[in-house]
């Protein structure tokens, strides 16, 4: 009974809460890091060094008036933020934060589920997230959100092709679809897949930026002629859901990248015995640290780069990334065939 219900439920509760808190602090991290990059201070007023700013933001967004414009499609308008939030959260079911640990004399795995098509699950759930964006644009019954949502979803779908192709080459190397299995494969290989598949890693990172609509691919949201993007008509908590979903997706991409390319919960250089003292640090801390590096890079990129134009973005996706990903896949397959 305990193994079947209580522990999974506890794990779900912990992961869900950690995610939501993480998302809100991701916002603070972004504001702070960008502020430092721009020689500013960022939020400083709420708590020491603005540490409670996310709480204030959350309270503000919750007590703001939640406006439903008159001529919108009510059901879809309400459902859209939820549809975009839910996939971003349920992805965490398969993300391994660490291997088994012993807690209170009981073997506990530091992941909610290890399903044998874990990676495929991540991809398919992420592909459902696009509905939130499309429906928000459609339901708003307004020109700019519609255009922005079409752009956003076209961008998302295009880059998903490249990203999925890179994932296939990772699968080829690892020989499994299970997220835990992929980490274990890296443990056996003694090297992170980022070093075996550097091209795939690069494409995944760029594609991840584009899929989460982050700078320099953030034009569906910030393009000057499209005003606010697909969530222009949203306010209050519904807007907050879109906001949270975006950052949750950023964290998902970082976690997945960590798992696939940076050895998940493994310490750096898992094959070098001289570094064995690093094992003192719990595995999940390693995982969080690596994800944090990713998050930082996401913010860093935003502070540094200008924005692509829409046609340049599509050209980059279809004419550069996808061909590169295919070449990478073919070469990986070929080498794999030779080696085995």
């Amino acid at each position: 009974m305990i193994d079947l219900f209580i522990i999974p439920l506890l794990k779900i509760a912990i992961v869900l809460n950690a995610t939501l808190v993480g998302v809100t602090y991701m916002v603070l991290l972004e504001r702070k890091v960008i502020a430092w990059a721009q020689s500013r201070l960022g939020p400083m007023r709420v708590g020491p060094h603005g540490i409670l700013q996310p709480v204030a933001d959350a309270v503000k967004l919750m007590i703001k008036e939640d406006i439903t414009p008159v001529r919108v499609d009510r059901w879809v308008f309400t459902a859209a933020p939820i549809i975009s939030m839910v996939p971003a959260l349920i992805v965490y079911a398969v993300i391994p934060f660490g291997p088994e640990v012993t807690l209170f004399g009981r073997e506990v795995t530091l992941y909610i589920a290890d399903i044998n098509v874990g990676l495929l699950y991540v991809v398919s759930v992420a592909s459902v997230g696009v509905y939130g964006i499309i429906l928000a644009g459609y339901a708003s019954n307004s020109k700019y959100p519609l255009l922005a949502s079409l752009r956003a979803s076209a961008q998302l779908i295009s880059y998903e092709v490249a990203v999925t192709l890179t994932l296939v080459s990772v699968i080829l190397v690892a020989g499994t679809l299970s997220m835990v299995g992929i980490v274990r494969a890296q443990e056996e290989a003694g090297v992170w897949f980022a070093f075996i598949q550097p091209l795939a890693f690069g494409i995944f990172f760029i594609g991840g930026l584009a899929e989460t609509n982050r700078s320099p691919f953030d034009l569906p949201e910030a393009e000057q002629e499209l005003t606010g993007g697909f969530h222009t008509e949203y306010s209050g908590m519904r807007f907050a859901l879109f906001f949270l979903a975006e950052y949750a997706n950023v964290i998902v991409v970082s976690s997945v990248a960590t798992t696939l390319f940076l050895g998940g919960w493994l310490r750096p250089f898992p094959s070098v015995d001289a570094l064995a003292f690093l094992d003192i640090v719990p595995s999940w801390i390693w995982f969080l640290l690596k994800s944090f590096v990713f998050l930082y890079v996401f913010v860093w990129v935003r502070a540094t780069l200008p924005r692509y134009r829409y046609d340049q973005l599509m050209r980059l996706g279809w004419k550069v990334l996808i061909p590169l990903a295919i070449v990478n896949l073919v070469v990986t397959g070929f080498i794999r065939l030779m080696v085995l």
């Binding site: 879809v76 098509v117 699950y121 992420a126 592909s127 696009v130 499309i134």
Partner: protein, 169 residues
Amino acid sequence: MGEAIAFYTIAAFVLGFAVLVVSTKDTVHSVLFLVLDFLFVAALYVLLGAEFLAAIQVLVYAGGIVVLYLFVVMLVNLKGLPEEHRDPHRRTKLGLGLAAAVLVELGAIFASGYARPVPQVAEAAIPVVGNTEEVGWLLYTNYLIPFEIVSMLLLVAMIGAIVLAKREL
């Protein structure tokens, strides 16, 4: 027992959403019900132990194809009145005809299914756990020709779509 409950619940949802797909007036809502329908079909696959198929169902149908449907439905203005036709009951007749055909087909399947027992070989071919490798083997051995034909067909369709969409090449 639990499996049966799960199956019937999911099946009820599948059927219910299917009915909603055809009965809803708003086309966008109808497409959305289609997505929900696909998600529950994926749940059925999970119940059958075919997780790979379930994931692919969500990825390809819910995440890919229906998005394109949604694009088309959103961009083509369907709010206008349908054009006049000489026979106003044309659609009803067509629908009845199709329904009859489906009924006959179902009857035939039932009849043949009850007529001879399910072969044991098929039982073994269905992987006990959702086995991605198994699916891959089958696709590239037993079903290689159909698989390749389907991929050619898709390629042709893609080229056709490009030719149609791009006026000047």
